[in-house]
């Protein structure tokens, strides 16, 4: 088989991966400091002294893992987002605004984002957070977790197993609440047992694996303020309905108690959400300075495109830049000493591919059936893969060295990606033509398009893509044009994003071109691997069952094995095998993969180079915002100086 061409990393900076304990630990420090303006509040009796606000053993961030070292207090961090707060009752499934507010208000039992920095030997699952530690019983049916002790909600109420019990028993298990973990969805219906204020236990009906704990990270395992919400839950308040409960903490009713580093104190719909530091935040640095360093956080409510623009202009401090069309400009900007922003490229994690529909037994017409049978033929997929000039596609996307061929499977930025396990089909129109001819595809009517041997129709593949995605469109253009050269006609069909998903999920398409983020075998599994009847969407199970491709059974099997083990090395082995099968069989016709870049304003310190825009979690989490800081002389003025949320 052909070797993958050599890949050039773009992040440029070399950094060392570290051990789990090098990032942060839980321990008591001899003394604690707080943001200077809090002193006045403490003196005025509005706040207890800092050591009373902190838990017994706060989370202590290690100086060694901070690129710019210990920080200075103060300043503002400005986000620009396209999301809008829906409400603050995340227990009932509400979001508080995608793009950073969610992650700022919700703290969860375990944490995924910073994992990207951990050495692979120590990749034994998620990092601790509210849950300081946990252990399994021997047959893996009971998981005991220990909460951080003495941590408090931002209104001073203690955080303890009451919150856990309310979260799990009255939300997750209550079918009337659209909680992020569905009833019976956690470990096949775990029961919660509270042991003491800081200890609780999940009891599972069957043996589980360690990967299950990942499900307690962001958006799923994030308890809410039971001391507020309980009163509004129909179970405890007969006057309340579930609708009332859902809207118990409406988006414009701030502040609300949070465990996060900042508390939303002002929400101007469609304009801004302002958050102020949480004086009860339970994390510190090694010098005992209570985190976060930054006093105020803004979320300007605009559009996603605006996020990158404003970051480049310097009016926003942070953006996940995923639009390759802007890469060169952004890089040029960040090189300019006067430019406000620096662009930090991560590994290549954005990968595009064509998904061909394999469900021949669900075809609506003879033509579709013949087409899908053709797709099921590895030779045809090989021909397609050979016909695609991935360099040209990459250059169309962004001129320069950003793109790298993608052959399906894991993106090269994935910790599970290995070039040696990947099969490569180089651009080779001659082979493509030869293979197609071998399949009996000939241009019988001389119109430049091959004809199907069966129905005799032109070989026309309608390819769905998302209208709004500029990158997708550029690649559809390229692919259409390139495949035309070997006689395959592509009919691009743009669909808006909302129509796109139902269309894909119902298998009502011939081919899809889209971006896929396949980085972890445990994340978005359904979109990538044949793990259930409706996964993946490009090979649904019809009324007559699923006619599996020869290699699909093994893939499914590998997923099960991967999930069943805690052994990092074994998992890596399974992942390699998956990669080989996926690329060798061209399960999806990969196109190109590119890195995303994290745009962070230059005045902001401690944003670790190489932070991926997306890997274990989105960069808002991975960049660890609580320890970001801005030198005092570069801080911009706060809109609500010297205040904290008052309840």
């Amino acid at each position: 088989a052909d070797k993958m061409p050599e890949e050039k990393s773009l992040s440029g900076v070399q950094y060392e991966l570290i051990g789990r304990d090098d990032l942060y630990t839980y321990k008591a420090l001899p003394q604690y400091n707080q943001a200077p303006f809090l002193d006045a509040l403490v003196a005025a009796g509005k706040l207890p002294p800092v050591n009373e606000r902190l838990p017994k053993e706060p989370v202590v961030f290690k100086t060694g893992a901070m690129v710019d070292g210990l920080g200075e207090y103060g300043g503002v961090f400005r986000h620009v987002i396209g999301g809008r707060p829906e409400g603050f009752n995340w227990l009932a499934g509400q979001h508080q605004g995608w793009g950073g507010i969610n992650m700022a208000v919700q703290e969860c039992l375990v944490r995924q984002g910073p994992r990207w920095q951990i050495k692979s030997e120590e990749q034994s699952g998620p990092l601790p957070n509210l849950a300081k530690s946990w252990e399994w019983n021997s047959d893996m049916t009971e998981l005991t977790m220990h909460l951080i002790e003495g941590a408090k909600w931002s209104d001073g109420d203690p955080f303890d197993t009451q919150d856990i019990a309310f979260w799990y028993n009255d939300n997750v298990e209550d079918t009337n609440v659209a909680s992020r973990i569905t009833a019976g969805g956690f470990g096949g219906g775990a029961k919660l047992e509270v042991i003491d204020d800081y200890t609780f236990k999940f009891i599972f009906p069957s043996a589980q694996s360690n990967t299950l704990i990942e499900g307690l990270a962001y958006i799923q395992g994030c308890p809410g303020p039971s001391h507020i919400l309980k009163d509004k839950h129909p179970k405890y308040n007969s006057a309340a309905s579930y609708d009332d409960y859902l809207n118990a903490m409406p988006s414009d009713n701030v502040p609300i108690p949070v465990m996060g580093a900042w508390v939303p104190v002002e929400h101007r719909p469609d304009e801004i959400v302002i958050m102020r530091r949480n004086p009860y935040y339970w994390k510190v640095d090694e010098a005992g300075n209570q985190l976060p360093y930054i006093n105020e956080m803004h979320f300007k409510l605009t559009t996603w495109d605006d996020r990158t623009t404003q970051a480049v202009a310097g009016t926003g401090d942070f953006s996940n830049m995923e639009n390759p069309g802007n890469f060169v400009e952004a890089l040029k900007q960040s090189q300019d000493p006067s430019a406000p922003v620096s662009a930090k490229f991560g590994p290549r994690t954005l990968a595009w591919r064509i998904e061909l529909n394999y469900a021949a037994n669900m075809a609506a017409s003879d033509y579709d059936k013949e087409l899908r049978n053709l797709f099921r033929n590895l030779d045809f997929r090989k021909a397609m893969s050979h016909a695609i000039d991935r360099d040209a596609v990459g250059q169309a996307l962004a001129r320069g060295p950003f793109a790298y061929p993608y052959m399906g499977g894991f993106a090269s930025g994935s910790p599970y990606y290995k070039a040696s396990a990947t099969f490569y089909t180089p651009f080779d129109q001659a082979s493509a033509a030869e293979i197609l001819a071998g399949l009996g595809l000939k241009d019988t009517d001389g119109n430049g398009v091959l004809n199907l041997p069966g129905t005799g129709d032109d070989l026309v593949i309608d390819m769905v893509y998302k209208a709004q995605r500029n990158d997708d469109r550029k690649q559809v253009d390229a692919v259409t044009s390139q495949l035309a050269e070997v006689g395959i006609r592509v009919l691009p069909k743009s669909v808006d994003e909302t129509s796109f998903d139902p269309m894909r999920n119902s298998g009502d398409f011939t081919a899809i071109l889209q971006r896929a983020n396949f980085i972890l075998p445990t994340r978005e599994t359904c979109g990538n691997l044949p793990v259930s009847d409706i996964c993946p969407a490009f090979h649904l199970t019809g009324a007559e069952g699923r006619d599996m491709l020869p290699f699909e059974a093994e893939l499914a099997d590998l997923v099960t094995k991967f999930n069943a083990t805690d052994d990092a090395a074994a998992q890596a082995g399974y992942a390699d095998r998956m990669q080989t099968i996926l690329s060798e069989n061209i399960y999806n016709v990969g196109l190109v993969q590119i890195p995303a870049a994290l745009l962070v304003n230059k005045r902001v310190k401690n944003a670790h180079p190489g932070t991926p825009v997306f890997m274990y979690e989105w960069a808002e989490d991975s960049v660890i915002r609580e320890r970001l800081w801005v030198p005092a002389d570069q801080q911009i003025s706060e809109l609500l100086p010297n205040t904290v949320a008052e309840y």
Partner: protein, 371 residues
């Protein structure tokens, strides 16, 4: 007893001209109108013979030159003498830090230009040709307005895009103009219930939720709808949504015209309503119609590009100026490949041309204008 053969009027030309001959004569004397007409003819000619004028097929890719800038035509040899026109190929250099690519003309890569060269085959009326108006003597690529994201020749695509764009523009303009005039004039002229209904329909059409409609159409269309079908459908929809303005504006005018004495005079000679509308009402609103129509052209062209911006509208592999402009959606194309905006130039030229033509026509038809 009165001798009127020697009337004070010394008519230098006594030829009997019909009204249209008169208009034509006046039009021909109008410099701007003529320039406009010539330019329009030129554009339409381009649209028809695009494949011949364009050096390449719109899908021909020059893999080595992606986003390459326009090549200057030189007529002086490097040593100073006059030579046959040539262009130079580009050498690329990449900034190692920002990865910005700069293009430098490569004096060793001289490509001589020639007329009527052999190139990509094209068909016209079913006959296949392979000659192109311009090209290089050795078959190497020449990109007068640079290349796009796939190394396709922007110049060729632009010329070929003329066809779809003009087709869409003229089709929608013509049809909506016709419907708008027809409906507006008759509702103004006949008045009464008919007018009432028409006015409500106009209001409805005007406030029609067009944006969701466009999105809906794309989603509802059969999956394997040909781009041509989609194109025609969009043209129809645009027509259906555009006539309303004109008809409303005309209606007002017609109401004031229908009570003029000359209309009554036409009634008095027994002219039918149809004739009165055609001969008396419509010509007296023609100035408005012409202005409206010439204004529609850019509107439609732009609407088409806005629709492409939304991802609906003209679909690849059909090329239109709108779809080409749509590539200019990120800073890459804007800053690093501004030549992708070349269709704007074409739009400007064609719109000005049609406009000059329209103005000339309006003035030629205006009985009060002179020369």
């Amino acid at each position: 007893m009165v001798d009127f053969s020697q009337n004070a009027e010394a008519i230098t030309s006594g030829a009997n001209l019909s009204y249209w001959q008169l208009v034509r004569r006046r039009f021909v004397r109008n410099r701007y109108g003529m320039i406009g007409l010539v330019a329009c003819v030129f554009i339409l000619f381009t649209a028809v013979f695009a494949e011949f004028i364009a050096p390449y097929h719109p899908e021909t890719k020059d893999r080595k030159t992606i986003y390459s800038p326009p090549q200057m035509i030189h007529i002086f040899a490097p040593d100073g003498g006059l030579t046959r026109p040539y262009v130079m190929g580009y050498a690329e250099e990449m900034d190692p830090v920002t990865y910005e690519i700069t293009f430098v003309s490569d004096p060793n890569d001289v490509r001589e230009l020639a007329f009527f060269v052999k190139g990509d085959p094209w068909t016209f009326l079913g006959i296949e040709f392979d000659r192109h108006l311009i090209g290089t003597t050795d078959g190497s690529f020449v990109h007068l307005i640079g290349t796009d994201s796939l190394g396709r020749d922007v110049f060729s695509r632009m010329l070929i895009g003329t066809r779809i764009t003009m087709l869409m523009g003229l089709l929608v303009m013509g049809a909506s103009c016709f419907i708008g005039t027809f409906v507006g004039v008759s509702s103004g002229y006949f008045g009464g219930t008919f007018d009432m209904i028409v006015q409500r329909v106009v209001e409805f059409v005007k406030s029609f939720p067009d944006l969701p409609l466009y999105l809906a159409l794309v989603a509802i269309l059969p999956r394997r709808a040909e781009p041509m079908t989609i194109f025609i459908m969009f043209a129809c929809i645009l027509v259906l949504l555009r006539w309303a303005d004109l008809s409303r504006e005309l209606r007002g005018k017609v109401i004031s015209i229908r009570s003029m004495d000359y209309v009554r005079a036409a009634v008095a000679v027994g002219a039918s309503d149809g004739r009165i509308i055609r001969r008396h009402i419509v010509p007296n609103t023609s100035s408005h119609i012409i202005v409206w129509a010439t204004y529609q052209l850019p509107e439609v062209i732009l609407l088409e590009s806005f629709l492409s911006f939304l991802g609906v509208g003209v679909q690849a592999p059909m090329v239109s100026w709108g779809t080409m402009l749509n590539q200019v959606r990120d800073f890459q194309s804007l800053a690093a490949a501004p030549w992708l905006m070349a269709p704007v130039g074409m739009i400007v030229i064609s719109v000005l041309a049609f406009n000059a033509f329209g103005d000339g026509l309006r003035d030629a038809m205006d009985p009060y204008s002179h020369d």
